[in-house]
């Protein structure tokens, strides 16, 4: 029974990684850049909810909506101010800028909220699920997290396959010059990708802080890196890859914590990544980059 419980919790943690990984993978697929500030957007979302719910005493749902709005605006602003001027610059310059933005967000949060950990009130207020006469308890946050992840995956996949904007994203990710010739505004498409990724980061922030109810300016950092690992693991640029990579990572992490060592779990997670990349450099679902003729 405890194995099952570890497994379900692992899937739940992995679902959070997957939602964050979507932001990494979509931005990488479309703008060909690694947005290392993505993890810190999660933290901003967490503080937005904390402010609305704990400080102002308003309902959690409103908190999530405000967090989504704040993160969306923040993501689009960061893209506009920090990344767009560097379009066409070397990828190293963009990467360093992204790391700079990450530190900026952490330090602004440090200035406003201080370094003390805040007690985060869960946004999920449903009762826990008890199965097998109480031998297996699944917390409501776990269930909500997994369900949210599934809904987001379904929603995003149909958005990309069914809408014009989604098709434009696919076109830009393959060849932004040819996409321009179709009349697609590449800059706008990239901005919308950042908006979607950041909105998802806000949701991930709500779920993450509800699962691990402690909030500091560095809260987003480690999950951000792990979600990046998940995105690479699944094949960066691939949406189903983000799901598979995220869930696998969450399960491996949780099972290592339970059965091997809670201190070594991160080391194990990253070792698995290195192994996967040695065998499949493009990740599990990664496509080979086609040579342009």
């Amino acid at each position: 029974m405890s194995f099952l419980s570890y497994l379900i919790n692992g899937i739940s943690l992995g679902s959070i990684y997957a939602i964050i990984a979507l932001g990494y993978t979509m931005v990488y697929g479309i703008a060909r850049m690694l947005n290392f500030a993505h993890g810190d957007i999660i933290m901003v979302g967490g503080f937005a909810i904390f402010t609305i719910v704990s400080t102002m005493g308003l309902p959690p749902l409103l908190g999530i909506l405000v967090a989504v709005a704040v993160c969306t605006v923040l993501g689009v602003t960061i893209e506009r101010v920090a990344y767009r001027p560097l379009r066409g610059a070397s990828s190293l310059a963009v990467l360093i800028t992204a790391i700079g933005v990450s530190y900026l967000l952490q330090n602004v949060a440090l200035l406003i909220f201080g370094s003390n950990a805040r007690q985060f009130t869960s946004v999920v207020t449903l009762p826990n699920l008890k199965l097998a006469d109480g031998a297996l308890t699944i917390s409501s946050v776990t269930i909500v997290t997994i369900v949210s992840c599934i809904l987001i995956m379904i929603g995003l996949t149909s958005f990309i396959n069914k809408t014009k904007m989604g098709q434009a994203m696919l076109a830009v990710s393959e060849d932004n010059g040819a996409a321009t010739l179709m009349g697609i505004d590449v800059n706008r498409t990239i901005a919308i990708t950042f908006a979607i990724g950041s909105a998802l980061a806000a949701v991930a922030g709500a779920l993450l802080c509800s699962t691990y109810p402690s909030l500091t300016p560095y809260t987003g950092s480690m999950p951000g890196i792990k979600a990046f690992v998940a995105a690479v693991f699944g094949g960066i640029g691939s949406i189903p890859g983000a799901l598979i990579g995220g869930v696998l990572l969450g399960v491996i992490e949780n099972l290592s914590k339970a059965y091997i060592s809670s201190q070594l779990s991160d080391a194990i997670v990253f070792s698995v990544l290195i192994l996967v990349l040695l065998i499949r450099p493009t990740g599990i679902l990664g496509r080979k980059i086609n040579e342009k003729v």
Binding site: L170, A178, T180, M182, K292
Partner: protein
């Protein structure tokens, strides 16, 4: 009045001047060929017109509007389509997805379906392969897809960059036939080609580019009989 007018255009790659002040015009209903050797600046000229490369000096006037500084994506809804060099179809999307992206700027759903039918009529192979990934098509089929995709925007002016490049002789003839038919339907064509003989055989007028300058221009038939053109480009 010319549908496209290029005046004293200058384009630089860094410090290297690729286009050294060229002027030419395209009148409605014409097929205009830009011919010249590798590196003469043909592709650069087209990419500057369609907004992929910025110009340093000069003007480009399309349909009475100055489009010199206009971002490339806005030109499509003004009726200009570009079939790029190397075709650049979206290899990982299906033929149908590619064609629909060609109609990205259009909103009239039923008319888009009609255009699709017209294009399937012109390129029956595209209909046969509509659910196939574009990357799995042969070179000639990809060229047809690139042309069909451009036609989906219902352009007034279609700009084609080396449509015969890398194709087998059978496809080359077919592609030039199609260009003539597209023009016959009332679409103005600006064509860049290394295959000067073929280009001149279908064009109304032509301009000869040499290292960023126009060195010769005139009626395509006359240019075909011009000694210097014969020697340099028609390998006679």
């Amino acid at each position: 009045m010319a549908i496209l007018e290029v005046k004293d255009l200058e384009v630089f790659y860094g410090v290297i001047q690729a286009i050294k002040g060229i002027s030419f015009e395209v009148n409605p209903g014409e097929i205009i060929a830009l011919i010249g050797a590798n590196g003469a600046g043909k592709t650069t000229t087209l990419q500057t017109i369609t907004g992929l490369i910025p110009s340093k000096a000069g003007h480009i006037v399309y349909d009475g509007k100055d489009i010199t500084k206009m971002p490339g994506h806005k030109l499509v809804s003004m009726g200009m389509a570009h079939v790029p060099e190397g075709r650049r179809v979206f290899a990982q999307l299906t033929v149908l997805q590619n064609l629909k992206l060609g109609a990205y700027t259009r909103k009239d759903k039923t008319e888009i379906e009609e255009t699709l039918k017209v294009i399937y009529n012109r390129f029956p192979r595209l209909e046969e392969r509509k659910n196939q990934m574009a990357g799995t098509l042969s070179g000639g089929e990809q060229q047809m897809l690139a042309m069909g995709r451009a036609l989906m925007s219902h352009p007034k002016l279609i700009v084609m960059d080396e449509p015969s490049m890398g194709l087998s002789p059978i496809y080359v003839n077919e592609i030039f036939d199609i260009i003539q038919k597209i023009n016959g339907d009332g679409t103005t064509v600006l064509l860049v080609e290394q295959n000067a003989k073929k280009a001149l055989s279908i064009a109304h007028r032509a301009y000869v580019l040499e290292t960023g300058r126009i060195v010769l221009s005139g009626d395509a038939g006359e240019l075909m009989n011009d000694d210097s053109v014969k020697k340099a480009y028609l390998s006679e």
